[in-house]
Symmetry: C2
Subunit: 140 residues, 2 copies
């Protein structure tokens, strides 16, 4: 298991930088997402209950919403699976293993896609969401 090397204050500052009050629940969510990268709501709840036994699902829902509103967390909708949540970072795309479901980030050059889409359509493209599917190294 990956361990955190960040202090509680690290997450509190991150939260405050996004106009979010720093509570233990929110810090725990931030830490879990930073460590695990991508988690769905159920996984997040199971994970956090270990450290915060009284944590309620409602709190997770409320906090994910406020974190998304403040652009601190993003929801990643995956084809044929539950949404996962991640900390907002620089623009990136997602790889999903079709066998084990693992999600990884990948940085792709998107100019080509955007240019082609602008040329072929009447839209002015501002954003590209890409989900790549395939087999991860272990599942080949």
């Amino acid at each position: 298991m990956v361990q955190s090397h960040k202090s509680a204050e690290h997450y509190a500052s991150l939260l405050r930088a996004h106009q979010l009050k720093a509570t233990p629940q929110r810090s725990a969510i931030a830490e879990a997402l930073e460590i695990h990268g991508h988690l769905n709501i159920e996984a997040l709840y199971e994970l956090l209950k270990q450290k915060l036994p009284t944590l309620s699902l409602a709190t997770i829902y409320k906090n994910l919403h406020s974190m998304i509103d403040k652009n601190f967390v993003a929801e990643v909708k995956l084809p044929g699976a539950k949404s996962v949540y991640e900390l907002v970072k620089e623009q990136h795309s997602h790889l999903v293993c079709e066998k084990c479901g693992k999600v990884e980030d990948i940085s792709l050059t998107l100019e080509y896609c955007i240019d082609e889409a602008n040329a072929k359509s009447n839209f002015t493209i501002t954003q590209v969401d890409i989900v790549l599917r395939g087999r991860c190294h272990q599942c080949q």
Copy 2:
């Protein structure tokens, strides 16, 4: 409003070609998706109730599932919006207007993305789902 120029038998044949019994409800779903391109469940229900007043939501859910199982219909998950459904066609990507929500198809060259992802990751990519967001011609 776009009107259909296909006979009822056209949709019945399409359905049978996908191992689906041709019922009026299914033909109506196929027709609506062919005419409108992309519809969410609520829009589909409202539309179809006009022609089939006794149609139930449960029937739409059951049929969409069997149509997806038979690879006749595909679900398109959109960031921050309800899923829409479309008839399965050749591989293509989606454009979504961030103002009016309109969804259009676009054919993009994906080799570049796939090659780059294969080169930069340990995954063997088999599929790429791209959702482009921006402003459509009317909403610029």
